[in-house]
Structures are given as structure tokens and as C-alpha cells.
């Protein structure tokens, strides 16, 4: 059981310590152990904290919806409209992005999205624009999509590939239209995979700091940027811990709600 020990010491223990630290004080730029709820009160009474909280929540929700909706037709086409060989290659290519530096990909997007970037140049050629995209929520969303879209397609594809083809056939034979088959047969059958893909998208975009920072312009901040600013600029680690714990609790609630929905039996 070396793993239990390892995970206890280096996974659970740091998180517990984070919780503990959120009650510590900072005096003369040094942390002093103690038990004081002042960090919680200070953080929770700040308007900018709640602004950041809702902003992050909304960004992550939008990213989740957009990613799921954009990923579905792709996963659907790969699962039902292509040969097994194509599917295998598609899976292989969808896994490649996980092994390329996310930072470098974000840097590439800066090239595309900038005021003088490639996309605006192209739009300019046909007489439009320039549209600001870098340092706007649109830029952030593109970053989230870069991070989550391949994963979402893979997860949806796996669950769609397991849908029983006979049921789809049956629906067709019983005169069910294409769209209706998709919405009332295929989606319910692949529900678990679709929801799990959405949960992962939510978790990743909720915690990511690179996209909002380098594509979204870092201002106004999201929670993860808030953590970095609080940690790196001052010695206010306890307050950063408050933000971190709030994030973890939020994620746990979302994940729990989603998993319950995913595995609930249909009435």
C-alpha cells in the first residue's frame, strides 16, 4: 500500500494544510500559525472576490455548454458515420493535443486573434473588421475550447460508440425521424459519457489560468488568476487558500450534482 501513504502525504495532506492555513495570520509579511476567521471574513466581504467568483462560474458554464454542443456532432459523426479504421485514427489524432504544450498552443492563438493577427488580416481583406478578440472573453473561450474540445470529443465518442446499434435501427424502423432518434434515443443512451465530458470541461475551465490570462487579458481576473496574484505578489497565502478552498467546494458540488444526474434511473 505504498500508494495510499504517498497520496495521503502528498495529496490529502497538502489540501488539509491549505484548509488549516486559511485560518493563519500574516504579520510583517510572515505567516503566523493561528486560528482566526479573519481571512474568510476579509475575502468574502470583498466585492471583487464575488465578481471574480461569478465571472469564473459563468465562463466555465458557457465553456461547458459551448464545448459540449460543438463536440457532439463531431463525436456523433465519428461514432456512426465513419468506418472503424477512420475512427481509430481520429482517436489517435485527438489524443495528440494532450501531449503538446498547452502554453505553446495558447501562444499560437495569440498570433491568430490579435488586432493585427491572422484572422483580422483575413477579415480585413474582404473589407470587415478589425474585431477585437484577444483580451476579450471570446479569446478566453477559444482558449478553453483548445483545452477541452479534444477531451470532450473523445469522452463523448467512447460513450456513443457503446450505444446499441439495434436500438437505433429499431427507432428508424418504427418511423422515428433522424433528429428525433438523436434526441430521444441516442442522447439518453449516451447520457453518462456526455455528462462526464461536460464535468471534465467544467473542472478544466474553472481551474485554468492560462486562457483567461494570456487570451482574456487577465483583467478582470478569474478565481485562478486571483490565487496567483495573491500568492505571487504578496505573502497573502492564507487568503489565496480561502479562494482555493471555495473553488474546490464549488467543483465538488458541481461534480456531485452532475454524477447524480448521470446515474439517475429514468422514471
Amino acid at each position: 500500500m505504498p500508494m495510499v501513504l504517498w497520496q495521503l502525504i502528498f495529496f490529502i495532506f497538502p489540501l488539509m494544510f491549505l484548509l488549516l492555513m486559511s485560518f493563519w495570520l500574516v504579520k510583517n509579511y510572515r505567516m503566523v500559525p493561528g486560528f482566526d476567521s479573519i481571512n474568510w471574513e476579509k475575502m468574502y466581504s470583498k466585492g471583487y472576490f464575488w465578481d471574480a467568483y461569478w465571472r469564473t462560474l459563468i465562463y466555465a458554464s458557457v465553456a461547458t455548454i459551448v464545448t459540449s454542443v460543438l463536440a457532439f456532432p463531431c463525436a456523433f459523426a465519428l461514432a456512426f458515420k465513419t468506418s472503424a479504421n477512420v475512427r481509430r485514427w481520429a482517436l489517435f489524432f485527438l489524443i495528440i493535443p494532450f501531449f503538446t504544450s498547452y502554453l505553446v498552443r495558447i501562444y499560437s492563438w495569440q498570433i491568430f486573434l490579435g488586432e493585427n493577427g491572422v484572422i483580422n488580416k483575413l477579415i480585413g481583406m474582404i473589407g470587415f473588421g478589425p474585431y477585437p478578440m484577444l483580451n476579450t472573453p471570446v479569446g478566453t473561450l477559444v482558449g478553453y475550447l483548445t483545452l477541452c474540445l479534444p477531451l470532450a470529443v473523445v469522452l463523448q465518442l467512447i460513450s456513443l460508440a457503446n450505444v446499441d446499434r439495434n436500438l437505433v435501427e429499431a427507432a428508424h424502423n418504427l418511423g422515428c425521424g433522424r433528429l428525433r432518434t438523436v434526441f430521444s434515443v441516442i442522447i439518453p443512451l449516451a447520457k453518462v459519457g456526455i455528462i462526464i465530458a461536460a464535468v471534465f470541461t467544467f473542472i478544466l475551465s474553472f481551474g485554468d489560468f492560462v486562457s483567461p490570462y494570456y487570451l482574456g487579458g487577465s483583467k478582470p481576473p478569474t478565481l485562478s488568476i486571483l490565487i496567483i496574484d495573491t500568492t505571487k505578489s504578496g505573502q497573502q497565502w492564507p487568503r489565496a487558500a480561502v479562494v482555493a478552498i471555495t473553488m474546490i467546494v464549488t467543483l465538488l458540488c458541481v461534480a456531485f450534482a452532475a454524477v447524480t444526474t448521470a446515474y439517475r434511473k429514468r422514471a
Binding site: 495529496f11 456532432p73 458515420k81 495528440i96 503538446t100 502554453l103 505553446v104 501562444y107 499560437s108 473542472i203
Partner: protein, 276 residues
């Protein structure tokens, strides 16, 4: 069925569009790493290996590659070992609290990296372990062992459960059975878990950024360049990192495929002989 054909065409085009979106930044980075202009834009400048030469002559970057190599190799060894133990425990034993055990084993990737970084930094600096190479290794093992566990567990699920008991019946000790039956069977998964965790660790930046101190890894260097001005060096470094990780992944895949199919052929022969 023209309607069907149009639909199919549309879906295929859509899939292509998604792939373009996913691969556009990767390919761009390659292209611009050979582009002479300092500020990347269209039309492209002329071909140059200037950016590669700059990083080649930069001792900081060499050092970072060294740190990254040490880190990812050690992480791969440790997390593959831990992953194997976890996976084997899950495969072999049933015990009270197993669901908690599995949750503990698989949860780390769901915690945002920034938070993991902050937590690790807070704890490690408290016990004077931060800012060293081993602090990065420790944190990465936490992040990577779930992946190793998942890969090896999938392989264990394919094993014939009678195989191990057969070995015991034939007088092999637990260790011998492990050594001569389980380990060879899992070998392809172990190798691919090794490459996978090495690649994940090689690319990880958030946690490393928090705990690394002066021992910067390659992604931390990229992050720091990114905070400054536009600098095509990133593309060059990124391309090198990409090729390194891809080599690891493709290697893992090839080894897994060939070994696994060899063994399937072998077990096939054995079962056929038993049938006769």
C-alpha cells in the same frame, strides 16, 4: 438518399473543421518556429533556423531541459511503480473502504493545477522542501500516478484470473507468480504507463511553476517567456518539446500494440493446445 448524402457530407466537413481547430495552433507553432519575422503575422518572412540557434546557445534552456529530463524520468519510474501497486491491489483484493481507496487513487487530476500548486508550495515550504528538484518530482508523482494506474488496470482486466492461481497450484510462490506471470503480462502496459507519465510530467507547468524555485523546467521557462514580449523562441522550444513527447507517446503505443498482440497470439496457441 440525397438528403442522407448531404447530411453525411456536412458531418464529415464538421469533423474536419474540428480537427482544423485542434491542430491549427500546433501546426502554426511549427511553421512560425522557422519564420524570420520577430512579430508573427502574415505574410510569412523567409525560412530561418535562427530561433533554434538562439535556444541552442542559451545555457538557461539547456539547464531547463536537464531539469525536465531528470524530473520526468524520476516521475515516470515512481508513478509507474505506484500506479502498478494500486492497480494490482484493486485487481486482486476486495476490502472495506475500497471505494475510498479508489477515489484517493483517481481524484488528483480533478483538482485544478493552480490549487495543487498552491497547496504543495504551502506544505513543502513549511517543511523546507520547496524550491528543489525533488519537490517538483514529488508533486508530479501525485498528478501522474492516476494515469499510470488507469493504463495498467486496463491491462490487468484482460488477464485470465485463473492464470495466477494456476501458477500457485504449480508451486510458484506469490512473488514468483508475480514475477513470472503478472509482470510479463503487464509489461506493455507498464512501458506505456512509463512513457505516458514521462510525457505528462514533461509538459506540466502550473505546479512546477509554484514549487520549482530556481530549478526551472522547460514549461516554466515557456511560461516566463510568455509573460514577456512576443518571442518566436517559444515556437522553437515548443516544437522540440512536442517532438520529445510525441516520440514517447508513439513509442509507448507501438510497444503496447506489438507486445499485446504477441501475447494474445501466444495465449491463443496455449488455449488451442489445451483444447486438443
Amino acid at each position: 438518399m440525397t438528403k442522407e448524402r448531404i447530411l453525411r457530407l456536412f458531418l464529415h466537413l464538421y469533423v474536419c473543421a474540428v480537427f482544423v481547430f485542434v491542430f491549427l495552433p500546433i501546426i502554426t507553432s511549427f511553421v512560425f518556429s522557422f519564420n524570420s519575422d520577430r512579430f508573427p503575422s502574415l505574410p510569412l518572412g523567409h525560412f530561418t533556423t535562427h530561433w533554434y540557434q538562439t535556444i541552442f546557445n542559451d545555457s538557461d534552456i539547456w539547464e531547463a531541459f536537464g531539469v525536465s529530463a531528470i524530473v520526468s524520468a524520476s516521475v515516470a519510474v515512481l508513478s509507474t511503480f505506484i500506479g502498478f501497486c494500486t492497480a494490482y491491489t484493486d485487481y486482486r483484493f476486495n476490502f472495506r473502504g475500497k471505494s475510498i481507496y479508489l477515489a484517493l487513487a483517481l481524484l488528483p487530476p480533478t483538482i485544478p493545477l493552480v490549487i495543487m500548486g498552491l497547496a504543495m508550495l504551502a506544505l513543502l515550504s513549511r517543511i523546507n522542501m520547496s524550491g528543489e528538484i525533488y519537490s517538483i518530482i514529488v508533486s508530479h508523482v501525485v498528478l501522474c500516478s492516476p494515469f499510470a494506474m488507469a493504463v495498467i488496470r486496463m491491462r490487468l482486466a484482460q488477464i485470465d484470473p485463473d492464470l495466477e492461481s494456476a501458477a500457485w497450484n504449480l508451486g510458484a510462490s506469490e512473488w514468483r507468480a508475480m514475477h513470472q506471470v503478472i509482470l510479463p503480462f503487464c509489461a506493455p502496459a507498464i512501458v506505456s504507463a512509463f512513457c505516458l507519465t514521462a510525457a505528462v510530467s514533461f509538459d506540466e507547468f502550473a505546479v512546477s511553476w509554484f514549487v520549482s524555485g530556481l530549478n526551472k523546467t522547460v514549461p516554466v521557462i515557456i511560461l516566463e517567456i510568455l509573460q514577456g514580449n512576443t518571442d518566436p523562441q517559444i515556437n522553437a522550444i515548443g516544437s522540440i518539446v512536442f517532438i520529445t513527447s510525441m516520440t514517447l507517446v508513439v513509442l509507448a503505443q507501438i510497444i503496447y500494440m506489438t507486445k499485446a498482440s504477441d501475447q494474445r497470439a501466444l495465449t491463443g496457441v496455449i488455449t488451442r493446445r489445451q483444447d486438443q
